[in-house]
Symmetry: D2
């Protein structure tokens, strides 16, 4: 490990007491001892922010009542005090405004997904990131898993051949009961179109699915045919979706998403059948990647084996094989990637987007385009609807830090 001169300084918007994802971002940032947690506006409730700051050893002077105050005051601090980047972990609806403000005042940004509330914001955010040239990292954390990164190599290198059929599913039972009526904070905003956006479970889980399959295969979804359902009364946004899709390379796929799948926990699973091989990876057992080949014994690839894993996979691992890693370690890998990019700016040799080892603003745009087109298809009675890739912007296709094979 190279010795940096100092730890990076991180601030946070959102993530006050009672929030889940804020803790995740902080633990991910803590793990490797490369980042100091320094400032924040943790809640729209200033009292919550104060209490949270004390818990996190953030000095009272850096605990801000509003994010507007935060961006303003932090930007006036001396260069050797102010935060290097901000992590935005609020609800979708406020993502854009906060990100815009921090970027325009020169701060790098790490942001939770889905990227924005609507497509206009997503397209605008791409332009802001391009204009400022700053680091923007979207925490599609599942691409941080070493074996997901190994799988990507198997497809990008051609070893698996052309993709024929993809299964991706994301099943939970988070919304089985009307928990939004019982005060569950996450359920309240995720079931409220004003806060969550035009899609429900598709925005939350569908963007992860789209990102994961694009990351591994290097292909984009070009057409979507979706059937949305709501089972519980009084719900407006879909809780459950069956989706057929077609890929840029000619493959076909099925995406199934549900937050009313009885007994499911965080069932994100992907299977990709290609001409020369197939892979299966399940988020709930992330230390194993299963590989199938025609008329050969099945293989189980195990995280941590330097002897046969790609450098990218090996370099994303902290403990030896057989010592399981999980959700936080993968999330921390996204932070490591963002930290490396931010340090490249501090060193005045900024990485190019193509070199980024984390999901970019272009990935965020693709995710938004995909879920909104799926919503459009569902409204049209499951008609096939075309989905634009990031090429719709002046910027070329610059997702995941390397050129797409989409052409």
């Amino acid at each position: 490990m190279e010795a940096w001169k100092r730890r990076l300084r991180m601030g946070m918007v959102g993530g006050g007491q009672g929030a889940f994802i804020g803790w995740v971002h902080r633990m991910a940032a803590n793990l490797d001892g490369q980042i100091d947690f320094t400032a924040g506006c943790f809640s729209r409730d200033p009292e919550n922010t104060k209490v949270t700051a004390r818990q996190l050893y953030v000095s009272a002077s850096r605990a801000y009542a509003t994010w507007q105050e935060m961006v303003d005051k932090e930007s006036r601090l001396p260069a050797d005090e102010r935060i290097d980047f901000v992590s935005i972990v609020t609800q979708n609806v406020s993502h854009f405004d906060i990100a815009k403000a921090f970027l325009e005042r020169g701060f790098h940004v790490v942001m939770d997904k889905p990227m924005t509330y609507n497509l206009e914001q997503a397209e605008e955010l791409v332009k802001i990131v391009e204009k400022t040239g700053l680091v923007f990292c979207l925490t599609h954390n599942y691409t941080g898993h070493p074996l997901v990164r190994h799988a990507r190599g198997l497809f990008r290198s051609g070893e698996m051949g052309r993709v024929r059929r993809v299964f991706v599913e994301y099943l939970q039972d988070f919304l089985m009961a009307p928990v939004e009526k019982e005060g569950n904070k996450q359920a309240v905003w995720r079931t409220d179109p004003k806060q969550a956006g035009l899609v429900g479970t598709m925005g939350d889980a569908g963007t992860h699915c789209e990102n994961l399959l694009s990351y591994i295969t290097g292909e984009r979804i070009t057409e979507v045919c979706a059937d949305f359902t709501t089972f519980l009364p009084d719900r407006v946004l879909e809780e459950d979706a069956g989706v057929l899709f077609r890929l840029s390379g000619g493959g076909r796929g099925t995406m199934t998403i549900s937050q009313v799948a009885t007994g499911e926990e965080n069932g994100l699973t992907i299977r990709i059948y290609a001409e020369k091989g197939a892979i299966l990876w399940a988020q709930e057992n992330p230390n194993y990647l299963h590989i199938y080949r025609y008329n050969e014994p099945r293989q189980t690839i195990s995280r941590g084996h330097k002897e046969y894993l790609s450098d990218l996979a090996t370099g994303s691992t902290r403990v030896p094989t057989g010592h399981p890693e999980g959700y936080l370690e993968a999330f921390a890998n996204i932070y490591c990637g963002a930290a490396a990019a931010i340090r490249s700016h501090l060193d005045r040799k900024p990485m190019k987007t193509e070199e980024y080892n984390f999901p970019t603003v272009y990935d965020g745009l693709c995710g938004m385009r995909f879920v909104l087109k799926a919503g459009e298809s569902a409204k049209l009675g499951s008609a096939w609807v075309k989905v634009q890739g990031p090429q719709g912007l002046a910027s070329a296709d610059k997702s995941h830090g390397e050129p797409s094979t989409e052409a």
Copy 2:
């Protein structure tokens, strides 16, 4: 076990040397020592029939050159010599004619699936079965598994609540290579529309999926939206299909079928998420049924446990828990069901269709309607197409030997 006066006498059309499914039917019939294998026309090649007869200890006088000869001569034998029933294991294209001939000469019929070559034959066959009043058993063998039968009880009793989401998939890599050009007999006829019918993998595997989900849930598929694909050059019929569907009770589902799914063997798997519980069952590991409930530990139900399994499941089991049963035992359960119905005729107290413990001609009709409507949807660019249940005939909905809850 009740002691019958004698073993049943079985004949077979098809199943000569080199055929796979004929052996399966014979082993299934042999297992319990209740059936004598007595006569047959095993091939369109009389020499193959002769050799096969010798291998199977069928006397030369009961090895027939054509099935027409067989039905004719057998029907002229004395009642205490002639076969009680015939098993038809030829290709789809000849199913109807053979079944018709045997039924009309008074023989009960066991037949491999899919039932017929086209829908007209299926509808006509229903009428013939109804008119003759004879036993007609379609070997959707997967409903013979004890834990599939247990699962059925969980849904029929209301214990699982209303079905919300179904996943059913049937994945193989049987057609990965152009094996039909290399002389693989099964591949030759299954990829030839003249022999296999209007659909490819859907006819072969899709009918199993439809039957399995209907059997367990007691619901019918009412609408289908399908995307068919052919990846290998020179193939005409689909090798691969992604299907969305809707159920009579309001649930939604995804069916995915492929015979080019690299490294898959006989991957028939069903998951059903309902209001109060979910089940998962995989054909490749049939001795376990997984049950999920909201906020409860997951359960693994194990075949053979009289303490907690339904009588139907326990009665379909031959060896104690922990001693695995498989494909042939389940197949033999279908034969046991057919044998019981045939014996009820010998005893002159014929069972009613509702009492049958095996798939009936109505199931066969439903299967044909489903796959043909899926084909229609695919041709219409994945439009939603309605699927009729067996109620389309004068006969009421009489599938699986008990009234459907569909009403």
Copy 3:
């Protein structure tokens, strides 16, 4: 398949109503349609024998009140009527006398395990089999599994290298409750030293473990150190045993057996770690064999793959990969092996013991020696006790139909 002139004729001693293992032997014999079930003495209760005979379509004239009557009358029948072989499925205590009588009257014998009640009988039986030259098959059925047979090849060929550590365990909860006091027939005799012999669970399960590991590795247990336990009051024979052992090739092992292992069903599992690879096989999921190698991805070998399985494994398989086989199919493979050996006598070209594809009288002897020495070790406070292989007799080491590598 070669066409034999006729089916073999089988008789049975034991296996009346209420017995489990008799049914298993009959189903195993039925499966392939090569054996006619013809005669029997099914119970010490002649009424039970009569009822059982009716159920099995055995003519009343061939249902015998005693096995003595059976051996006598059958031997006086014309050659083209009398049974070719007898299956002995009584309790251990009577195995020897019955086998002796049938062998000495010229009948081949298939017998359930453990072979005899005590060691003297086992040694004597070896001599009788050698003297008569007839087929004697001991149904250590687990060696009938295709993937166990494949595993054997991996070790015999040297591909796995020298064996270092073996784990073998057989766990059930059959005796969790004092079921022998509640009339459970099997429990009654298995817990009664007069019927079961000098050891309890070791005789029942330990012989399977010893046979399985010897079959696969080609090595014998040379020393044993055992700790026996009885947890339930009033039980005399061990219910549970922890065993250390040493192998002829220098490897070490642990054998653990229990019939009070809460929630276990039929948990026979073997793992063998050798210099160049390791295997894991579990009876409850017999269609998969797991292979581990140093610094390589783990492999799952799947039953039915002709592309990579040995001929022995492929030739022991009835249905294609992905169509699970189980306990009965493996048991039937033992019957196929015995049938082939018996037919070789009918054809007057008797196979040599080395050519047998089933467990022999030498395997039975080794099993008896092993479990009795384990019992001796337990009595001596877990002292190491040496275990003789079959070489203790004039006969060379002729187990499993091929020369041992033990030298």
Copy 4:
């Protein structure tokens, strides 16, 4: 979460570049943002210490050339600067001297296992800890897993009933090749009796096994019968051991340990069969605990379910169910426990040993006694040897922070 006034200050002895376990301790300490890494002597090579200090942002003035210098200089620093505790991650041989020095100068200690080089040191260390009254935490990290903690409750509450049979195994292939001759640092000292102690793999892995089973069951091993093996030439210490043992409550067990188990990674698995239930937990898949009961469906307990898990298990969890946690999170739980105990001293209300939620010096003593008695048994040809619990000292049995049920 309660807000502490400040982060704790941590120092480290050992853990320089190239060491594995130092990184693990630091990541575990970082994760929750409650500990500042402040000082260290990372290597016997001062240059390595300097480089490591730079990488870890430890100021040069707190990077010490020797641990003697470190303990001396740190103890002279003002109270609000000096470290609160030291983590000792050197080789076994130096554990005692370093721990003694830090404890006697008033520093709390966290130490890697096994506790000491020999038994005398272990007994002496108990006395030092008792005399100083300071916190001593031994990082048997596997007891940090939430589901291990849940399992403990199942046995301590009596819900599982009396323990009958325990299986515990720890399998790796770390020493398959003569890696100590190829410069693998860990292998060099672990295979060298001068550095590792009187036992080899038993000291490394056996202490984990003993600790884990004692922690869950609340029982101690009272007798041991061991067979040790060395397969590779030139190795002195055992690489592999088969062990029988007896528990204080009358149960029996098998422990199997190997570092030459081909293809095994970090295979620590425990199964405990008791009168009313059984549990199975595998370190490599730590998010699931399997529960078996007599004649009931098997259950899979999943980490993170507040609805049915104990408070201890729930309180040891960072992310929701379905988001896997692993090795580092469990390790961090040990650090959380130690931090709470250290803070109780800062707050001048020191916890009692019985309140500790981490392995104590008494656990370390038990571990040393167990592995040394196993070694004695092996030398005596697998004789049964008695094992003393911590009651051998003046101190009562104070392991795991709560009274043992052993009495």
